[in-house]
C-alpha cells in the first residue's frame, strides 16, 4: 500500500473540507461579488479590502484572530454557546468556518470580475423585456458569469486543499477531525518519515497540477465562427 490508513483519512478529510468550503462560499461569495461588481457605494473599497485581506495576511495571524473569535470569550464563541452548538475550535465545523474566511477572496474576486465583465447592457435589455432584477440576475447574469463560477470554484477548492497555517491554528492536529493532508505531511516530516511524506507530497503535487491544468486548458464557449455581412 502506497498510503497508509492515516494518510487516506487525511486526504478524505481534506476533500470533505474543500467541498464544504467551496459550496458554502458559492452561496456566501456570490452576493458579495455581485454587490462589489454593481455598487457605487463608498463602502465598496472597504468591503473589497476586507475580502482581499486573507491574500496578504499571514495565515497564522488570521488563524490566531479566528481562534480568539471562536473561543469562549470571543463573539463567535459566545454566539455558538448561546445557540447550543458549543465551542468551534478544534472541531470540523470550526475548521470549515475558518477556511471560509481564509478562501473568501479566491471565490469573490473571480466572480466579481465575471460580473463586471458582463456590463450593464444585458441587464438593461432584460429589464426592458420585462425581467425583474432578481429574474435578470438568475436568467442573465448567472449564466453569463458561468466561466467565472468555474474558475472561482476550482481556485477555492484548490486553495482550501493547500491550506496549513489556519488549519493548524484553529483545528490543531486531531486525526479524523482536523488533520488534513498538509498537516499529515508536516507530521510525517516531524517524525522523520520522509518516504511517507514524499508519497503524500506527490499526491498533493499531482492534484495541484491537474487543477491548474484544468483551469488553463479550459476555454469558455470554445472558439466561435462569426460570419461577416
Amino acid at each position: 500500500m502506497v498510503l497508509n490508513d492515516s494518510d487516506i483519512q487525511s486526504i478524505w478529510l481534506t476533500v470533505k473540507l474543500a467541498t464544504c468550503v467551496t459550496l458554502i462560499l458559492l452561496l456566501v461569495g456570490t452576493p458579495i461579488a455581485w454587490w462589489l461588481a454593481r455598487t457605487r457605494s463608498r463602502l465598496k473599497g472597504v468591503i473589497g479590502a476586507v475580502v482581499a485581506l486573507p491574500l496578504v495576511l499571514p495565515p497564522s495571524v488570521l488563524g490566531f484572530y479566528l481562534l480568539l473569535a471562536m473561543g469562549p470569550g470571543g463573539p463567535l464563541g459566545y454566539l455558538t454557546g448561546r445557540l447550543g452548538i458549543g465551542a468551534l475550535p478544534f472541531t470540523f465545523p470550526g475548521l470549515v468556518l475558518g477556511s471560509v474566511f481564509y478562501s473568501l477572496p479566491f471565490m469573490v474576486q473571480p466572480l466579481q470580475n465575471a460580473f463586471e465583465s458582463i456590463g450593464d447592457r444585458p441587464l438593461e435589455v432584460a429589464a426592458t423585456l420585462g425581467a425583474s432584477r432578481l429574474d435578470a440576475f438568475f436568467s442573465v447574469a448567472l449564466p453569463l458569469a458561468r466561466p467565472g463560477f468555474l474558475t472561482a470554484s476550482i481556485l477555492t477548492f484548490a486553495h482550501t486543499v493547500g491550506e496549513f497555517g489556519v488549519v493548524l491554528m484553529i483545528g490543531g492536529n486531531i486525526p479524523g477531525v482536523s488533520r488534513v493532508a498538509s498537516v499529515q505531511i508536516y507530521d510525517h516530516v516531524e517524525a522523520l518519515e520522509y518516504a511517507q511524506a514524499h508519497r503524500m507530497a506527490i499526491v498533493m503535487l499531482i492534484f495541484s497540477f491537474l487543477v491548474l491544468l484544468a483551469l488553463y486548458a479550459w476555454r469558455p464557449n470554445g472558439r466561435t465562427t462569426k460570419r461577416e455581412g
Partner: protein
C-alpha cells in the same frame, strides 16, 4: 402613442432639459452624437432616473418627481433595440426571441411567434447560437425579441449605426414592419437624415441637451439642406431598367431616367443629392448630362445660404438647391418652368 416628457437631468459636464409633447406612431429623435438622445430614451425606458419632471405615456404616469412615482423598466412595457444588438449569448435564437414573450402576461400577448419569425425571416436560424449569426441577423433577432415582449412602445436607439451600408438598407424594411405589420408605435433615434425620412413621420431634433425643433422628417431634411455637405437627398423609387446605349433606362412617372447603374430587382430605391441637379432657364443646346427634363416649379424654401427649389418632373417631386443669385438670374418663381440636367452617374442605388 401619446407621450409627454418634461424632464431634467444634470451631469457634471452635460445637462438635459426636455419638454416634449407628441402623438404619433413613427417618431424620430434626431441629433448629433452627445446631444442627449440616448439619455432621453434611457429616461423614458426607466434605465435612467431624471433629476426632476414628469413622464406620461398614453395617460399613464411613468415618472413624477413631485408624486415620487418611478416605475421600474419591467413595469413600463417599453422595449428597446440598441445599437449593439446585446443578444444573450447563453441562449440560442429561439430562446432569445422568447425571453420577453415568456415574461409578458398572456392577456397582453398580441404578436404571434410564428408570424414574427416569418416576417423577420428567422425560420432557419431558430436553433442557432447567436454567436454564429451575422450582424444583420443579430439585429433582426434583437428586433424580434423586443417585439415579442409585446411592448406598447418600442425604442430603437441607433439600431443601424453598427451596420454597414448594405446591411443598413436591408434591415430598414424589417424595422418599418414594427409599425406597418405589428402596429406597435416606435421612437427611432438616429443621426442620419435619410434613416429619419425612411423610418419616421415626425422628428424631434435635439441639440446640446435641448429639443430645438419638432417637425416632419421631410421638413427637417429641407431645413438642414443648406448645412449638410450632401444637401437634400431625393429618394426615388424606380422600376426595373432596360439597357440603353451603355446606360440603364428606368421608367419614372410619365418619363424615364438614365442611370449608369443597373438594378437587379423590380423596385429600387435611389438617392439623388439636391446638389447634383443643374437648372436651366431654357432648353440647353448641347449637354453631356444624359437626363434633361422640363419641370414645373412648385415652391421655394431657404435653408442657410441655399435656396431649395421644389420641382415637379414627370409627375414626381424633386428638390434642387441653388444660390440666391441663380434664383434671380433664372427668374425661378413658383408656377414657372425650368429645365434640369442630371448626370447618369449622379444617382446612388441604395442596397436592399
Amino acid at each position: 402613442m401619446q407621450l409627454s416628457m418634461k424632464v431634467g437631468k444634470r451631469y457634471p459636464d452635460f445637462q438635459l432639459e426636455a419638454d416634449i409633447s407628441l402623438a404619433g406612431e413613427r417618431v424620430g429623435i434626431f441629433g448629433a452624437s452627445g446631444s442627449g438622445k440616448s439619455t432621453l430614451v434611457g429616461m423614458l425606458a426607466g434605465l435612467l432616473q431624471p433629476d426632476s419632471g414628469e413622464i406620461l405615456l398614453d395617460g399613464e404616469c411613468l415618472f413624477s418627481s413631485s408624486a415620487t412615482i418611478n416605475l421600474r423598466p419591467e413595469q413600463r412595457r417599453i422595449a428597446m433595440v440598441f445599437q449593439q444588438h446585446s443578444l444573450f449569448e447563453h441562449l440560442n435564437v429561439r430562446n432569445n426571441l422568447l425571453y420577453g414573450f415568456k415574461r409578458c402576461p398572456a392577456h397582453l400577448r398580441t404578436i404571434d411567434f410564428t408570424d414574427l419569425v416569418a416576417v423577420l425571416k428567422l425560420e432557419g436560424l431558430l436553433e442557432r447560437s447567436v454567436t454564429t449569426l451575422s450582424g444583420g441577423e443579430k439585429q433582426r433577432v434583437a428586433l424580434g425579441r423586443a417585439l415579442l415582449a409585446n411592448p406598447r412602445l418600442l425604442l430603437m436607439d441607433e439600431p443601424l449605426s453598427a451596420l454597414d451600408d448594405v446591411l443598413r438598407f436591408q434591415i430598414i424594411p424589417y424595422l418599418r414592419s414594427v409599425s406597418e405589420h405589428f402596429g406597435i408605435p416606435y421612437l427611432f433615434i438616429s443621426h442620419s437624415l435619410v434613416e429619419m425620412r425612411l423610418m419616421t413621420d415626425q422628428v424631434l431634433m435635439i441639440e446640446k441637451g435641448a429639443v430645438v425643433q419638432q417637425a416632419s422628417s421631410e421638413e427637417l431634411a429641407r431645413n438642414r439642406m443648406g448645412q449638410s455637405p450632401v444637401g437634400y437627398i431625393n429618394l426615388l423609387k424606380l422600376g426595373r431598367p432596360a439597357p440603353s446605349a451603355g446606360l440603364f433606362a428606368y421608367p419614372w412617372g410619365s418619363g424615364q431616367l438614365l442611370l449608369s447603374v443597373a438594378a437587379d430587382r423590380d423596385c429600387s430605391l435611389v438617392e439623388l443629392s439636391s446638389k447634383d441637379i443643374m437648372l436651366f432657364k431654357q432648353h440647353p443646346e448641347a449637354i453631356s448630362a444624359r437626363n434633361l427634363l422640363r419641370c414645373d416649379i412648385r415652391s421655394l424654401f431657404s435653408s442657410g445660404r441655399k435656396i431649395g427649389v421644389e420641382l415637379e418632373c414627370a409627375g414626381n417631386t424633386l428638390v434642387a438647391e441653388v444660390v440666391q443669385d441663380a434664383v434671380n438670374e433664372l427668374d425661378i418663381v413658383p408656377g414657372g418652368t425650368v429645365y434640369i440636367a442630371i448626370k447618369a452617374s449622379a444617382f446612388r442605388m441604395l442596397p436592399g
